[in-house]
């Protein structure tokens, strides 16, 4: 078997603020296999976007990645010089964001922005070759009449079209890894389905790996091969997508699953998670989910639970998992 494309080991990113030390990413181990999709799920404020920025070394100050390694094909990105890292960004790793309107420059045409990205990474090409390449890129993301779109400005495109342009730009240099941070959150469901379909197709064509960051378990089920559920800067549960949905272990994962309105059942009330994500400078003692967890017991409040293997390849950071065993032991006692 080929080694994983990307391995993250003990990654820790902190912010020194006046309210205290913010542990945005707090000791994360993950890996992304070649040609596969890793889904990262969690509520806003759980650190999932900060994790992707840490991989790209784009953490805004005063944030700093203080520990860990990010190994892309064995090379630690955290050791690279600024110039080397610039070659990696947009080269081997590309990124797309939630809001395509704010990621595109409104005063330049689509074509100019596309050719600019291509020029940076292949400076040898002349203007007409760049234009051909850009139009081919637009065609590849299935934008109708790409020759006309090449000269248009971002405001003339719909949200779905803009996201396609962003994807075309990201894929221009044939990255090995695409980080997609909530790529469909701002889009309508029918357009979301189109974009997810497109990403799957492009992945099959190019063999790239994808890190998909989302708060929507439905999107994860559509796209991901492996999933990491994040809560308060830590991984709460890790499994293959199949396993996670068939055998969810962590109470946080259960809460997320219960919150999704489903079409396949009549339920009067949704199973919400009570409370909200704690601010990162005031994480509770012990397990960070304990104040919101209905299964929490005294030891949960005392000690941070490590990620442990529940079944082969399936890990959860919960001392109570699987809950039915824990509960039946209690009622027997």
């Amino acid at each position: 078997m080929q080694p994983d494309l990307l391995r993250i080991e003990g990654l820790r990113t902190v912010f020194k603020t006046s309210s205290g030390l913010v542990r945005a990413v707090d000791g994360i181990d993950l890996s992304v296999p070649r040609g596969k999709t890793l889904g990262i799920v969690g509520e806003s404020g759980c650190g999932k976007s900060m994790l992707s920025l840490s991989i790209m070394r784009l953490v805004p100050p005063p944030g700093r990645t203080v520990e860990g390694r990010v190994l892309l094909e064995g090379r630690n990105l955290l050791d690279l010089s600024t110039a080397e890292m610039r070659q990696v960004r947009g080269g081997q790793i590309a990124m797309i964001f939630q809001e395509p309107m704010t990621s595109l420059n409104p005063v330049h045409s689509v074509g100019r922005q596309l050719t600019e990205a291509m020029h940076v990474h292949s400076p040898g090409l002349n203007a007409s070759a760049l234009k051909d390449k850009a139009i081919a890129a637009l065609k590849r993301v299935r934008i109708p009449s790409p020759e006309r779109r090449f000269d248009e400005y971002p405001h003339q495109l719909s949200g779905g079209m803009r996201q396609r342009v962003m994807i075309a730009m990201a894929l221009a240099c044939e990255p090995r890894l695409l980080i997609a941070d909530e790529p469909t959150t701002a889009l309508d469901v029918t357009v979301q389905a189109q974009i997810l379909d497109l990403l799957r197709e492009l992945q099959a064509d190019t063999g790239m790996s994808i890190i998909l960051i989302t708060h929507d378990l439905g999107v994860v089920a559509e796209m991901a091969d492996e999933v990491a559920v994040m809560y308060a800067g830590k991984v709460a549960e890790r499994a293959t997508a199949r396993e996670l949905f068939e055998d969810p272990q962590h109470p946080y994962t259960l809460g997320l699953l219960g919150s999704v309105p489903r079409l396949d059942e009549e339920r009067e009330r949704l199973l919400a998670i009570d409370g909200s994500v704690p601010p990162p400078f005031a994480f509770p003692e012990g397990c960070r989910f304990n104040p919101r967890c209905p299964f929490a017991i005294a030891p949960c409040r005392a000690e941070l639970p490590p990620l442990r293997e529940i079944t082969p390849g399936h890990q959860a950071a919960c001392i109570r998992a699987p809950v039915e065993n824990a509960l039946s032991l209690e009622s027997a006692a």
């Binding site: 509520e43 806003s44 719909s158 949200g159 779905g160 079209m161 309508d188 469901v189 029918t190 357009v191 979301q192 389905a193 189109q194 997810l196 379909d197 799957r200 708060h215 929507d216 378990l217 439905g218 999107v219 994860v220 089920a221 559509e222 796209m223 991901a224 997508a241 199949r242 949905f245 068939e246 055998d247 969810p248 109470p251 259960l254 809460g255 997320l256 699953l257 219960g258 919150s259 999704v260 309105p261 489903r262 079409l263 396949d264 059942e265 339920r267 009067e268 009330r269 949704l270 199973l271 919400a272 998670i273 009570d274 909200s276 209905p294 299964f295 699987p322 809950v323 039915e324 509960l327």
Partner: protein
């Protein structure tokens, strides 16, 4: 008994002008283009559709925040399309709105207590002391605490702000609450809290909701009846059960099929609807959905389909509603036994803790 709210042939057309000194009209944006529906007392009607379908404009028309170009609005059987002044103010007290963005809809300089009391001040309800008591009661009603009244909006999370928005809408004891995408800006777990709260409040206070949403899954939990809108017109309207069990319009089917289902085994089973919503400045002739419809035929390009009753309580604007192939929508098989069991344990433990 007449329904609480009844709108018929409601339209809003915006002229598009060009030129700096001499302006001439070069087109019309048909944001809402002849919409009819009613909301019964104590029920929820959901308006569903993609962005640009005119659902928010419809909400604003109903509240008379903007003036309709055509059509009538009846409240308790009385025509209120042209009501002005004091009579309008009285009407406003009975129809309130909850907005989508809980960050933008609260004044950052007002304490939460003042924000909730403001509608009562506007409508001259009670005195300072009684308003204060009412604010505290409302805060408890939406799951916050009386001491929150002294705080400012920035101290609250998105879900809490939406609760404040709901409390403010309820402060004048309205009959109808228009909810304009009240949960779309929230995280799923928080969405569930707010949806549950809104359902509880409806049961306790007998509220009627006009619920605007783009997410059919959320709507399934909230609505009694659903109207699906596309490009300013209603494509299908009916009871929730019928609409989910047997959607008759191709657009309703496409919307249902596009919902990402939390079950990896179902991946890639549907072909997404192609294309984008056309511009409301150039609404296609005939059926306005024909440019994206997989079943479109020659007739659809010429003849506008009427919204007609197919089965009792379900009306569809499609020439071929009876003869469309089986949609093949299958919602079953979502949760495994292990997952269902653990979700039930989670629910039980949550109830015990509460």
């Amino acid at each position: 008994m007449s329904p609480l709210l009844e709108v018929s042939g409601l339209a809003k057309h915006y002229p598009v002008k060009k030129g700096v000194i001499v302006q001439k009209q070069v087109g019309t944006v048909r944001a809402v283009d002849g919409v009819s529906f009613h909301v019964n007392r104590g029920e929820t009607l959901a308006l569903v559709g993609e962005s640009g379908c005119g659902k928010s404009t419809t909400a604003r028309l109903v509240l008379r925040l903007i003036e309709p170009s055509a059509g009538t609005i009846r409240f308790e059987g009385k025509d209120v399309t042209k009501v002005e002044g004091g009579a309008m103010r009285l009407l406003r007290r009975r129809m309130q709105i909850v907005f989508q963005d809980p960050y933008a809809s609260l004044n950052p300089r007002l304490t939460v207590g003042d924000a909730i009391a403001e509608p009562m001040v506007v409508h001259n309800i009670g005195d300072n002391a009684s308003r204060r008591a009412k604010v505290h009661e409302l805060l408890r009603l939406v799951g916050l605490a009386p001491f929150h009244a002294e705080r400012y909006p920035h101290e609250f999370s998105g879900g809490q702000r939406q609760r404040i928005g709901i409390a403010r809408a309820l402060s004048v004891e309205p009959d109808l609450v228009v909810c304009d995408e009240p949960v779309s800006a929230l995280d799923v777990s928080i969405q569930a809290q707010v949806v549950n709260l809104m359902k509880d409040l409806q049961a306790r206070l007998g509220l009627s909701y006009l619920f605007i949403a783009h997410d059919l899954a959320v709507v399934k939990h909230m609505a009694d009846r659903i109207a699906v809108m596309y490009l300013g017109a209603v494509m299908e309207i009916g009871d929730k059960g019928a609409l989910f069990a047997n959607p008759r319009h191709p657009y309703t089917r496409a919307l249902l099929a596009a919902i990402p289902h939390p079950d990896p085994a179902r991946r890639g089973r549907v072909t997404p609807l192609g294309g984008d919503v056309p511009s409301p400045m150039a609404v296609p002739p005939g059926c306005r959905f024909h440019t994206r419809c997989p079943f479109a035929q020659a007739r659809c390009k010429q003849e506008v389909p009427e919204l007609r009753e197919i089965t009792p309580g379900q009306r569809v604007a499609c020439h071929f509603a009876e003869t469309l192939p089986d949609p093949g929508l299958d919602y079953t098989g979502g949760l495994t036994e292990a997952a269902t069991k653990r979700l039930a344990l989670y629910d039980a433990a949550r109830r015990k803790a509460a």
